[in-house]
Amino acid sequence: MIDGIFQFIDENTYLLLGIIKAVVIASALLGVVPLLVWLERRLMGRFQVRLGPNRVGPYGLGQPISDSIKLLFKESIIQNSADKFLFHLAPVVVVFTAIVSFAVIPMTGPFELFGEKMGLWASNINSGILFVFAISGMGIYGMVLAGLSSNNKYSLMGGLRSSAQMISYELTLGLAALCVIVHTGSLNLVDMVERQNSWPNALNLLNPPLMIAFVLFFIAGIAETNRAPFDLPEAEQELVAGFHTEYTGMKFAMFFMGEYINMVTMSALITLMFLGGWNTYILPDWAIIGFVAFAFKVSFLLCVFIWLRSTFPRIRYDRLMTFGWKFLLPIAIVNLFLEAAIRVI
């Protein structure tokens, strides 16, 4: 019996490994969300000279747990005029795409475990960065569907705004990423990190055209994840809560989860493309140190996201569009030409 089990494992190592990786990555992502909510509330408290949640557990760490229990047991209200199927589908799409797009993010260099060469990623496909853009592009549908199916003016406006905003900023995001692709000569995220592993061309960030690309990518990334100061789709003062006005309980929490997972994915992408990924340059080249370095860089970027939210006021909608189309996009195109010219010369 036991021999049979071992033989089964031997024959299907890759399949089993893939399943384990998928489960671990998905559950880790979902586990990160409450921690991020806690971090955001604590940091926002600091920034605004107040305490933030500090009553439940040490440093208020019990707060996310109690919040999620509250959300789980809340009554789920669906209004009569809503389109039931789409109303249920929308939060599912948001969370699904957010988790799936993380599948190609490599978290540390390839290492050997039990004589088996493996890497800490769910899959290392050739056009990894395109995959992330493709799947996160699908995530827009969640918001548009939520807006369409709620049968509510504010939700509809929120959905429309989110789709317009994300289409506009996706162009800048893509063109900024294209600079890195031209620089690396590959669409693979692991290649992009390995291109930055030695001093002369370490840290894509220090390369002049890529420095501009970094700023563009960061700004467009904030807009893509619908974070402040670009959180027009859920502007409280004008739209109540935007596309998720009608959602309650866990379905509301799923939109939240999607937003936070997207934030993590965006930070991970920026880390991989511009900040050298898991390279530390001074510490020994171990997989575990690489992972810690990667996690440190990602959490630093997440803190910057939160910092920006508590610093800037929300910008007006027409300004947002003008900024995207007439300012960021031309700079991105010129920057791409520049990078290509430098590569050719």
Partner: protein
């Protein structure tokens, strides 16, 4: 993994692969039917998105990663979002339509027969692809590099012509949207 039942043996991975391809293809056809048969514009658009995603999955199953990603980004991502956008702006109401089932069946039958006739006259026997295929080339199939080389060497002129066409269309859209046509006023002396 080879599964042997004594009287019948099969490769489990290969059978699963074929099954998945068939399932995706069937879903694509059903989704395409849904686009035509659905009376609510939102659901029609959603079926079209489903169809696009199925096509992307088929590309992926045949090892064309790059085309699959581009299919998702361009068609399922950008084009269909605009469709939904317009439906949301115009307010997609469900249409009530009188539906004559017999007439529909008759027409679809005639259409299918005609299409099959046209296909049978035009399509010959399947021919193998000729050319030099070493291992390196086969490994490169579907990668961005292979597609780029093909586009910018063999199909350069059509590619550039298409880009000019797109540019003209883009300029045309801006002209139509931005500058409202006003009759020329003569200056009164």
């Amino acid at each position: 993994m080879l599964i042997d039942l004594g009287w019948f043996s099969f490769d489990l991975f290969k059978v699963t692969y074929d099954g998945v391809v068939l399932a995706i293809g069937g879903t694509a056809v059903l989704a395409a039917l849904g686009v035509v048969l659905c009376s609510s514009p939102i659901y029609s658009a959603l079926y079209l998105i489903g169809h696009m995603i199925c096509l992307a999955l088929l590309f992926l199953m045949y090892g064309a990663e790059f085309i699959a990603a581009v299919q998702l980004i361009v068609y399922a991502g950008a084009v269909m979002i605009l469709f939904l956008f317009i439906i949301a702006l115009l307010g997609g109401k469900k249409e009530s339509q009188s539906f004559d089932f017999h007439k529909f069946m008759a027409f679809s039958f005639i259409g299918t027969v005609l299409a099959e006739l046209a296909l049978s006259t035009r399509v010959g026997p399947t021919q193998p692809i000729t050319g030099i295929f070493d291992e390196k080339m086969i490994a490169n199939v579907g990668s961005a590099k292979a597609i780029g080389l093909e586009l910018f060497s063999k199909h350069l002129i059509p590619f550039e012509l298409a880009s000019i066409l797109l540019l003209v269309a883009g300029v045309g859209i801006i002209c139509l949207a931005k500058f409202a046509y006003k009759p020329v006023r003569r200056r009164s002396n």
